[in-house]
């Protein structure tokens, strides 16, 4: 039994990406879900399932009420922050493939810049009365209290272990910003950066410069999942869900998996990658575009290693010769990623994968047939391989 090829993304929708949306998160959710349903050639009454993140502030029933979705037979939430992104599509696909629902919309909408900023210290995360609060008790009170800081500790060990440099991290930011510069929907449209600018940007959490850290954004993105069969009858070319996986590794924590043997690794992404290759039957060389979650640059290098695009510690060499450019061996984040386009918790990357497969992306990679997308790193995570029908 396999999920591969049973379901497809048939519609995508988004709000504009900004620093201050000027409206409620529920309004953003309603707008992006509405746009995605319209893009799929469907109406709200066709929708019978909704999936989002546990972190999302918009309950499925609130979204259903606003859009006039009459009945829901499937609704689900995925935990672990940005690690949920690809898993929302996985859950939607499983619901569709098992007949639990016909049309499931995955969505994420927030005022992450004008409202609660994830880059700040969250006392709520420190004080939650559950196992994650206890986990955080060994980190937050000691001053390790922001996402950048949690990543910096791993990045320092990675630099030490493999002899990489801050410039190697910087190359990821430069390529993302280069792609964003030619994407009119990107916040950093028309604003590429140089490696020297990356190096000159202020420290946030050493060894991370400001330009190693993704931006903070307001906005929403939604994705319509239905059966591959139904998707073929809808207006847009379907993006088939060839593989979909979640992954958690040994000794797993949320951003602070500091107690397992190898600190300079992301084994949870290895768990995801192993499933993606197995489910899809594809090789690394079959991947035409990689949309890798890029909240912090070091984790892009480590993902390349975990997914097998290069050997352990070799990402610094892999990214040095233009491999991540649009005409390179593995074009990375043609929309500009979260460093360049917007930080919508990974969901905007899935929408970009669909555009690449439709052939409608602004920075189109010619003949893109298979796109790999990953979700948030440093946390239990997820991934997808989407394929042109």
């Amino acid at each position: 039994m396999t999920l591969s090829g049973k379901a497809a993304i048939a519609g995508i929708g988004a709000t504009e990406f900004s620093k201050d949306s000027g409206r409620s998160e529920l309004r953003l959710a309603a707008e992006c879900v509405s746009a995605a349903v319209r893009d799929a050639g469907l109406t709200p009454s066709d929708v019978d399932g909704l999936v989002t993140f546990t972190m999302d502030g918009n309950a499925e029933i609130a979204v259903a009420r606003e859009l006039g979705i009459p009945e829901l037979s499937f609704f689900s939430r995925i935990h672990y922050g940005g690690g949920a992104a690809a898993a929302t599509v996985q859950q939607a696909a499983m619901a569709v493939a098992t007949g639990m629902a016909d049309v499931v919309v995955a969505y994420r909408a927030f005022n992450e810049r004008s409202g609660m900023r994830f880059g700040q210290v969250s006392s709520a995360a420190a004080h939650q009365v559950n196992t994650s609060g206890v986990d955080n008790s060994f980190h937050y009170p000691m001053g390790l209290a922001t996402p950048a800081a949690t990543v910096a500790l791993v990045a320092q060990r990675y630099l030490h272990t493999y002899g990489a440099t801050s410039e190697d991290f910087g190359r990821v930011a430069v390529v993302d910003r280069k792609h964003a510069a030619t994407n009119p929907d990107a916040w950093f449209h028309g604003k590429p950066i140089t490696l020297a600018e990356h190096q000159a940007s202020r420290w946030v959490a050493e060894p991370l410069h400001l330009l190693d850290c993704c931006q903070e954004s307001d906005g929403g993105v939604a994705l319509v999942v239905t059966s591959a069969e139904r998707a073929r009858d809808l207006p847009n070319p379907p993006a088939l869900i060839t593989a979909a996986a979640q992954g958690s590794g040994p000794g797993q924590y949320i951003m602070t998996s500091y107690y397992r043997d190898d600190l300079a690794a992301l084994p949870e992404m290895g768990v995801v990658g192993g499933q993606l290759w197995r489910q899809s039957g594809l090789a690394r060389s079959d991947i035409d575009v990689a949309v890798l979650y890029d909240h912090f640059t070091p984790y892009v290098l480590m993902q390349l290693e975990e997914l097998g695009f290069c050997g352990r510690g070799e990402a610094k060499d892999f990214v040095r010769d233009g491999a991540l450019e649009l005409d390179g061996a593995l074009p990375l984040n043609p929309h500009g990623g979260q460093l360049g386009e917007a930080y919508i918790h990974g969901m905007n990357g899935i929408a970009e994968a669909v555009r690449q497969l439709r052939g409608t992306a602004v920075n189109q990679v010619g003949g893109a047939a298979n796109v790999l997308v990953t979700a948030g790193t440093g946390v239990p995570t997820s991934g997808l391989i989407l394929t042109a029908a």
Binding site: V134, S137, F138, H139, M142, G143, A145, Q156
Partner: protein, 299 residues
């Protein structure tokens, strides 16, 4: 600019001498007999008789408050101790005592004593930890006549090696503590870095289950030696973190016992920190309930 401790010291010193505290009993032969016996002092001047006098070194004994005695409300040493306790300098050791005897005391004389705060100096780095030297002057009287005086100095210090400044109690992010982790925080309050132990296996962070899944096993803990090396670290610059001053260093330390523990590295400049740097445990007292584990560079 002076610190709150220095301001409190000035205020208490300005109050001058406390009210005289009258000894519980007059100078008496029974107490003298007990004292010379305990000290092994066979000087015949202290034996019962017409011209007997009290040993001068007994001076403190006459005005001791007794087993259940309490300090007077205006006692300057008590007031200063309490301020230093609240600032995290909870431990005390006496360092100097210099007594001057102006004349002998005879049975029947009733002495009283006053105290005043002479000086508070600090914070000082000492082998015991960071602390303040508190100097008081006690004066003994019979009526209005001064019969003895004493300079008394204590070091009031922060145990466990000390830190440069107390964390800001209101602001610090407090840990969520479970039944599985409360022993760790009890330990830090005592200046102990406790690591959970299941048989021969150490585990950190602690949890409710042993590595082998044996439901009958019971956890214990060891007090780590506290020495280890930096396994990885970061220098935090932005944004501000409650209870910390940026930039600050957070280090993941591999203890000599083999487990990793995270804490702030207190006294290192970011430039000198590197992976492999030898460090040792330190403890940052926030308040009565919370002491945070931390690190300092090992000399």
């Amino acid at each position: 600019m002076s610190t709150p401790i220095e301001e409190a010291a000035r205020r208490i010193a300005a109050q001058g001498e406390s009210r005289p505290r009258l000894a519980r009993d007059p100078v008496n032969q029974a107490m003298i007999n007990n004292w010379v016996e305990a000290m092994g002092d066979a000087n015949p001047r202290y034996a019962p008789g017409e011209d007997t006098v009290a040993p001068p070194a007994m001076i403190q004994a006459w005005t001791m408050p007794g087993l259940h005695g309490q300090r007077a409300g205006d006692d300057p040493l008590g007031a200063m101790m309490s301020i230093l306790d609240d600032a995290g300098y909870t431990s005390v050791v006496a360092t100097n005592s210099e007594q001057n005897y102006h004349r002998y005391l005879r049975p029947g004389e009733h002495v009283s004593a006053t105290n005043r705060l002479e000086s508070v100096a600090g914070p000082k780095r000492t082998a015991l930890g960071e602390g303040w030297f508190v100097t008081t002057r006690t004066t003994w009287y019979v009526g209005d006549e001064v019969v003895a005086d004493m300079l008394f100095r204590v070091l009031k210090f922060r145990p466990g090696g000390g830190t440069t400044a107390a964390a800001e109690p209101a602001a610090v992010l407090r840990p969520v503590i479970s039944k599985d982790t409360e022993f760790f925080w009890e330990g830090t309050r005592l200046g102990e870095l406790r690591i959970q132990r299941w048989g021969d296996t150490l585990r950190h962070p602690p949890g409710p289950m042993p590595p082998d899944g044996d439901l009958d096993a019971k956890p214990g803990w060891v007090v780590a030696r506290g020495t280890g090396t930096v396994y990885s670290y970061l220098v935090h610059h932005h944004p501000q973190v409650p209870g910390k001053r940026t930039p600050f260093v957070v280090a993941l330390v591999e203890l000599d016992e083999g487990v990793r523990v995270l804490g702030e590295l207190l006294d290192a400049s970011p430039d000198e920190v590197h992976i492999g740097l030898p460090v040792e445990a330190a403890f940052v007292r926030v308040d009565d309930e919370l002491t945070l584990p931390a690190w300092k560079v090992r000399a």
